[in-house]
Symmetry: C2
Subunit: 361 residues, 2 copies
C-alpha cells in the first residue's frame, strides 16, 4: 500500500482557536505542522513551542513569509473576519490551499472574491466548521434522510449561546466592529444557520426575518440575536444566539414521522464519543397518560476528535489535488457561501428594522 | 385528624379526555366520581360503566341535569371550546365549581364572562393544564428561580407537535371551525404559551409576532403555527405547534447562568416519575475540545399521576371554600386568562398578516 501523503500546514496568526487546530493537525494521520507566522516573531516562537510543532518547524515573523514558503501546502487562517478576504485571497494566489475560520467573510460578496481566487488557482477551500466532520453528524443525517424513521422535514430549531465574561465583552475580537463585526451572529449564528441548512439538505430558505430586539454593544456589534426562516413548502426554522446566556448548543429537527434532538452539536460533551436522540412515530398509551416509547439515545464513537477529522478530510482533498490531479471539492465552499448568504440576510433584516428579507442565490 | 373532605365531581360530556380525567378523580384522595351527563343517556351510561364510576353514580341524559343535581360540588367541562362560555357560566350560576378544559375560551373576552360568573358565585375556576401540577414542574421552577444556578432569564423556546392521523384531520373537534376554532394554536399552542409564561413568572410579553406561513385546513382552522414573543427587558421566546409533525413536547429555558431542558413537559414519558436536565455555568476544557461538565438529570417521582394531582389540588380548594369559608384561589383563573391573552395575540397577528401585536392586560 502506498504511504499516506502528508500535507504540510502553515498557520497564520496565533489566535486561541489556532491552538486547538494545531493539536488537530498533530492528531490527523495525513497532516503535519510545518510553519507558523505571526506579526511578532516572539509570539510565533512561543506558539510553536507550546502547540506541538516539531523541531525544525518554520517560525516566521509575518503571515507573508508563511505564504512564500514553497514547502507549505495549505494554510489555516484563524485571523479576524475583517482580514479574511485579504489573506485568503493572497494565500490562494500563492497556491496554498485554504482552511478558513468562520464566519468566512463579512458578507457573501467578499467571500465570492475568496472563492474566485481559490478556483482560479486550483486550491481547495474549506471553512473551519468542525462539527460537520464528526461521525455523529453523518449518523444524524442518515436518520433525517430516512423516510421511514423521519419522514418529511417540517421544522428546525437551533440555539448556540455562551456566557462571555467581562474580559471577552470588553476585549475579544468578536465584539470589535473593525475585527469580527458580525459579533454573535457571525460567531454563534454561523453554527445555528449551518445546522439549519444542513438539516434542510442545504436548500436555502426563501425568506428570513430577524427576531426583534437583538442586543448590541456600544459599538453596535451584535451580542444576541435570532431569526425565523421560511421555505416555500412550509418548512420553518428558528434560531437564537447570544454571548449573554449560559452555554447551549441545541438542534431540534422535527419531521412528519420523527424527531432529532442534540444538545452539544458544536462541541460534543466528550472527545471520543457523542450522542443524539432520535424518535420515530412517538405516541401515547390508550389514556394518554404516558408515552408509548421514549426517544432512543444513539452513541457514536470517533477515534480522533472532530477537528482532527476536519483537518484529515481537508488534507485528503489537498493530497488528491496535489498527487492525483483531482479538482478541488466544491461542496465545501458552496455550503460556506450558503451559510454566509443566510447570515447576510439576517443582518440585513436587522438593519431594515426587522423586515423580511428574500434570499437570492 | 379530621377526615379528608371528599368533593363530588360531575362530568359533562364524554369526550376522550374525560376518560383520563375520570380516572384521575378515582386516583385523587379527596375527590369522587358522582355524576356524568351526556346529550345521550346511553352514551353517559356506557361512559360511567367504562370509566370507574361507582355503583349508584348518577347518569344523566343532559348536561343541565348534572348542574341541577344538588349533590354535585364541581363539574369537569371537557366540551368543545365553542361551548365553554355557555356551560361554564351556567355551572357557576348553579354554584358548581368549574374545572375547565383548555383552551378556556375562544378569546379572552369570552373567558372574562366565565371569570365574572365564577367570581360572583364564589366558585373555584381552574383550567385543565395537567403538567402544572406535576411535582417536576415545581422542581424545575425552583431551578429557574435560583439566582445562583440559573441567573436571569434570557430566552425560552417551547414546542408541542404531534402527528394527527387522517381521521383526526377529518373529524376531530380540533379541526372544526364551529367547535375548537383555534385548532392547533388552541390545543397545542396553549401549552407552549403557558410554558413560556410559567418560565417568565407570568410576566406578559409586550409584543407578539406570529410566524409566517401557518398551515390551515380547508375550513381555515390552524394546523400548525408559531410565534415570537418579546418583553421590554430583552427577553425573547419562540414557540411552534403543529398537528402535522411527530410528537414533540419541549421546553428550553436559558438564563445568564443556567439552562433547563425538558422533552416531555405536557405528558411525562412515565406516570410515576419524570425528569429534566439542568446545567449551571457550563463551559469547556482549556482547548475547547469538550465540556467541563454535562447537564445533570433530575428525576422527580410522584405518587399519583399529574392529572390526579390536578384534581386533588382543585378539590382541596373547593373543600376549603365549602367547609372552611375560604375564598376561591385567583391564581388559576389569572394564569388561564394570561395564556388566553397571548393566544389571542398570536391569532390576531396571523389575521393581520403577521404584524406585531401589543399585549394589553
Amino acid at each position: 500500500m502506498a504511504e499516506t501523503p502528508t500535507i504540510r500546514f502553515g498557520v497564520i496568526g496565533c489566535a486561541d482557536i489556532a491552538r486547538k487546530l494545531s493539536r488537530a493537525v498533530t492528531l490527523a494521520p495525513n497532516a503535519t505542522l510545518y510553519a507558523v507566522g505571526s506579526r511578532s516573531l516572539d509570539k510565533a516562537q512561543s506558539f510553536a513551542a507550546a502547540n506541538g510543532f516539531p523541531d525544525g518547524a518554520k517560525v516566521y515573523g509575518s503571515y507573508e513569509a508563511v505564504l512564500d514558503d514553497p514547502n507549505v501546502d495549505a494554510v489555516y487562517v484563524p485571523l479576524p473576519t475583517s482580514l479574511h478576504v485579504r489573506w485568503a485571497v493572497l494565500a490562494a494566489h500563492k497556491k496554498k490551499h485554504v482552511l478558513l475560520e468562520k464566519p468566512v467573510a463579512l458578507n457573501a460578496s467578499e467571500f465570492d472574491q475568496i472563492i474566485e481566487a481559490c478556483e482560479s488557482n486550483g486550491v481547495q477551500l474549506m471553512d473551519g466548521t468542525m462539527w460537520m466532520h464528526h461521525p455523529r453528524t453523518a449518523s444524524m443525517k442518515d436518520f433525517l434522510s430516512d423516510a421511514h424513521r423521519f419522514g418529511q422535514l417540517k421544522s428546525i430549531h437551533t440555539c448556540f449561546t455562551f456566557a462571555a465574561d467581562a474580559d471577552f465583552l470588553e476585549n475579544d475580537i468578536r465584539v470589535k466592529p473593525d475585527l469580527d463585526a458580525l459579533g454573535s451572529l457571525g460567531d454563534e449564528g454561523w453554527y445555528c444557520i449551518r445546522a439549519i441548512l444542513w438539516a434542510a439538505n442545504y436548500e436555502l430558505p426563501k425568506t428570513v426575518l430577524a427576531l426583534c430586539k437583538p442586543e448590541l454593544n456600544q459599538a453596535g456589534v451584535i451580542l444576541s440575536c435570532g431569526a425565523t426562516l421560511y421555505w416555500e413548502d412550509g418548512k420553518v426554522a428558528t434560531f437564537y444566539c447570544s454571548f449573554l446566556s449560559n452555554l447551549v448548543m441545541d438542534i431540534t429537527v422535527v419531521g412528519t414521522k420523527g424527531t432529532l434532538h442534540v444538545h452539544d452539536f458544536i462541541i460534543p460533551y466528550e472527545e471520543k464519543e457523542a450522542s443524539f436522540y432520535a424518535a420515530t412515530e412517538s405516541g401515547f398509551d390508550d389514556l394518554v397518560t404516558k408515552w408509548g416509547s421514549q426517544p432512543s439515545k444513539h452513541i457514536v464513537k470517533t477515534d480522533i476528535p472532530q477537528e482532527a477529522r476536519m483537518v484529515s478530510e481537508f488534507a485528503r482533498l489537498v493530497a488528491d489535488i496535489k498527487f492525483n490531479n483531482c479538482k478541488p471539492e466544491k461542496k465545501w465552499p458552496t455550503i460556506s457561501r450558503k451559510t454566509q448568504l443566510v447570515l447576510d440576510a439576517v443582518k440585513a433584516s436587522i438593519e431594515k428594522g426587522f423586515e423580511p428579507v428574500q434570499i437570492q442565490e
